[in-house]
Symmetry: C2
Subunit: 186 residues, 2 copies
DNA sequence: CGAAACGTTGACCGTTTTCAATTACAGTGG
DNA sequence: CCACTGTAATTGAAAACGGTCAACGTTTCG
């Protein structure tokens, strides 16, 4: 059993973990329609929650990285409504559903932490959606800067920022170059 | 006091409403930094939650329409971290914070409904963000169709769909025309 | 009937994507 | 220590796509 320290909530939840599960890239964690027996905490790696389209293509509903809880809404449904597939090798902490429900029912502190986590997630993803609804690269980068006062991540991860705001790495580099040229911040 | 029937949760919450508040377009509901004394339920109209940028421009963090709760994360903070401004004339139901907190603490059923609401919101907005990260109009419309099996809304609201997936009404109409031409569904 | 908002389509223009080629850099093994 | 390899960063050029502007048809509603 591994302690996930991303947040007080995940630390607490990981204590309820039953076992650990490892996935290779492209491994399937669950399919739509499967009964929900467990929640999962992403320890490392990344998963994609997708809905398979009739034609064979897939619609990504969520990307889950380290520290993410899969899937919060599981607590209120009987079966999954999407597929979960490892995008890279990943390690998960398995949280038996019944154990989690019992813990939430008996521990108001934990329940409150869970609710708070969800409220923050709602805020985060709504803000992300608003950034993505901006139409120009300049606007998106500016918005991202405002919401990430910590500044740019170390090189090697810039392209992840680009992906986060829905533009190509090239477009992102060019925008950064433009800002450097103008002396307008990094 | 008005009953909001959008969902069981909002119906329940609206019963805890203290009073009703009307806003004209551009009226300010609260500013970042204001102490959080109440939550709000949007009865009609629409509000924008924004963060003011140093330069005078504004970053929209969320659009709240009828049935929305403003702002869920308020329950876990002392002061607002964004501004709320009416985008159109709006009517709100004022929910005193203390009353809500007491209700959540004493009514596990309500607390559970709140958590479920948040979990669903997280799902919804994550899916919305993924749609917005698609780059072409065709992909976005296809994705929207998959997630809205109910099909297109009646005319007069198509442009709202366009806004929802981050494209101009014109681009949306053209995509629909393209699909009609191909006989590929409405 | 007239006004207002939405739907529809065309043309043009700007931005971004895409493709491609080059440089920088970290980690690996000889 | 250095060549070697893979990934990221950088920059250029061309093509595609969607936004914008504009004109007109359609629907609704007072």
């Amino acid at each position: 059993m591994i302690a996930i320290m991303s947040s007080p909530l995940t630390a607490e939840l990981s204590r309820l973990g039953e076992r650990e599960q490892k996935l290779a890239a492209n491994d399937v964690l669950f399919r739509a329609g499967d009964p929900i027996l467990s929640l999962f905490l992403v320890v490392s790696g990344a998963l994609l929650l997708t809905r398979s389209l009739p034609h064979g293509s897939e619609l990504v509903l969520q990307r889950a990285g380290p520290g993410a809880i899969l899937a919060e809404a599981s607590l209120f449904a009987q079966s999954y409504h999407c597929d979960a597939i490892a995008a890279q090798p990943a390690v998960l902490c398995v949280l038996p559903r019944l154990r989690i429900e019992a813990a939430l029912a008996s521990d108001p502190e934990l329940a409150r932490a869970m609710t708070r986590h969800l409220a923050q997630e709602v805020q985060r993803s709504r803000a992300a959606a608003e950034i993505l609804s901006l139409k120009t690269v300049t606007e998106r980068v500016t918005a991202w800067m405002v919401l990430n006062e910590s500044g740019l991540p170390p090189k090697g991860r810039w392209r992840h920022v680009a992906a986060e705001i829905g533009i190509t790495p090239e477009a992102f580099y060019r925008e950064l170059a433009r800002r450097r040229a103008k002396g307008q911040g990094v």
